[in-house]
């Protein structure tokens, strides 16, 4: 799978009467994790929805750099796990095929769940799982789609720090080589996973590329360069919020 880069060209996005983005030009590199970082309400989710094709921009467009259309090549993972409470874990993972009317691939779904450490929970209902397990099922469902572009909207924000760190490791390992756009408000998450880190602030939003810490992702949370970058990033976010 070759994962394309995403080109955002002259993008304008409005939400609830506010112009969040105007004339935004941005390239999200192919095959790596790009982390979009910003305070709540800055418009991260709106931007991601436009990239996912869920909302239309008021101007501009999002294209893949290989020239082929993006439609059908994007998987989306929202803030909540969005599991169907009536469906067993494995059926939740195969939701995409069930909604497209294709024959679900049970073996592949089971294999993905095994990689998530949920091999013994295939027949469980979502209500029987912890928050971290549910998010792992959601990640397995995203991987089951097997799309080169994966958009993630603060998928780990509701988890406790230990579970979150484990999910970050799992995401970095399983989404390797894909074009991932990850939204977060957590500077540590950005520094652990980002191969491009973009700070969003202002209205309309200005995007600033931040120096990426050294090392392959997932970077250890106690690494000196990660800790330093996290501190710099937090300082920048505070400055941006104060101005």
């Amino acid at each position: 799978m070759t994962a394309p880069a995403l080109d955002l060209r002259g993008l304008a996005v409005a939400h609830g009467g506010r112009e969040l983005f105007a004339g935004l030009d941005l390239t999200l590199p192919g095959g790596v994790f790009s982390v979009l970082l910003g305070a709540s309400g800055v418009g991260k989710t709106s931007l991601l929805r436009v990239i996912a094709g869920l909302d239309r921009p008021t101007a501009g467009m999002v294209v893949a750099d290989d020239g082929a259309p993006l439609a059908g090549r994007v998987a989306w993972m929202g803030q909540r796990d969005l599991l169907q409470p009536w469906a067993r874990v494995i059926d939740n993972v195969m939701l995409g095929d069930r909604l497209r009317g294709r024959r679900p691939d049970r073996d592949r779904a089971a294999e993905l769940l095994r990689r998530m450490g949920l091999a013994d929970r295939l027949a469980a209902l979502p209500a029987e799982l912890s928050g971290g397990m549910r998010q792992r099922v959601a990640l397995a469902r995203t991987l089951y789609e097997d799309r080169p572009v994966v958009l993630m909207d603060e998928p780990f924000s509701a988890l406790d720090s230990v579970t979150r760190a484990r999910m970050q490791d799992l995401a970095a390992e399983t989404l390797h080589d894909r074009t991932v756009v990850l939204i977060t408000h957590d500077p540590l998450e950005a520094c652990r996973l980002g191969q491009a880190i973009l700070l969003m602030a202002g209205e309309p939003v200005r995007v600033e590329a931040i120096a990426v810490p050294a090392g392959a992702v997932p970077r250890p949370a106690d690494d000196d360069s990660v800790l330093h970058a996290q501190g710099v990033l937090l300082r920048r976010m505070l400055d941006a919020a104060g101005s």
Binding site: G53, A71, G72, G78, L82, Q84, G96, L99, R100
Partner: protein, 256 residues
């Protein structure tokens, strides 16, 4: 469930019933109400026992009409709600009709329905269907429309087919709302059947009540009323428990 817990759970409703019976007895006794206006509980109980064959037969007819009405009304209302969700023209044309089914008083329609469908159970089944059609259809349709937007976004990002979204996402998500409509329907369907019997029938609890009324057999009429009330409560309870079992993923707080 242990015997002790059954006693504990039955204790309150039984206590309430005993209290009501006592109040009833007191009003008759102290108020000096003549028995043809309000018979004392004792004579109603005697009528209940003496006419048990008659009452059971009548209750059987009414129960059959009610259950048939519930089944047909649920199937028809459910199918219509799905159609209204799938097609905008159907929604625009049918919504006023669904509303109309609630706006027209069934009491006014009952004589007409008996004329059209005869004195047998058909006209009563139609009455029951009419009475429950609105709560069934509107609750299910509401549930189908109120699918959490996050699920629909997810489905769109998966290039889902609209028909399958309706079937595998909107439909199961609407079942709790549908169940609410079905519980209401179970409670009011007997009413439709009895009104139909009242207007023109040769059997059923409504028919029995009406004949007892005209003959001033007030104790029999009260006995029939008691049977009808118990039947309705049991029907509601059965539907409620069946739904709770079918909707296994919906939190069901039965702690009290």
């Amino acid at each position: 469930m242990s015997a002790g817990r059954i006693v504990a759970r039955l204790g309150r409703p039984v206590g309430t019933l005993c209290g009501l019976g006592l109040l009833w007895w007191g009003i008759v006794r102290l108020g000096g109400v003549p028995p043809y206006l309000l018979p004392p509980p004792g004579s109603v109980a005697r009528a209940l026992w003496a006419q048990r064959g008659l009452l059971a037969g009548a209750a059987g007819t009414t129960l059959l009409e009610t259950v048939l009405g519930l089944l047909l009304g649920t199937a028809g209302g459910g199918a219509l709600a799905l159609l209204m969700m799938a097609s905008t023209p159907v929604r625009r044309w049918m919504m006023p009709l669904v509303l109309l089914s609630q706006a027209v008083p069934v009491f006014a329609l009952a004589p007409l329905l008996v004329l059209w469908f005869g004195f047998g159970i058909a006209s009563k089944v139609v009455m029951a269907v009419l009475v429950i059609f609105f709560p069934i259809t509107s609750s299910f349709f509401d549930g189908l429309r109120r699918t959490p937007p996050g699920w629909l976004d997810l489905a769109r990002s998966m290039d889902a087919r609209p028909g399958l979204v309706l079937l595998r996402l909107r439909l199961p998500a609407a079942l709790p709302a549908f169940a609410t409509g079905l519980r209401v329907a179970a409670a009011i369907a007997p009413l439709g059947a009895v009104v139909g019997e009242w207007v023109g029938a040769s059997s059923g609890l409504g028919f029995l009540m009406q004949t007892a009324n005209t003959r001033f057999e007030t104790d029999l009429m009260f006995a029939a009323l008691l049977v009808l009330a118990s039947m309705t409560v049991l029907l509601w309870w059965g539907v409620d428990r069946a739904l709770a079992r079918m909707l296994y993923w919906v939190p069901d707080d039965r702690s009290d």
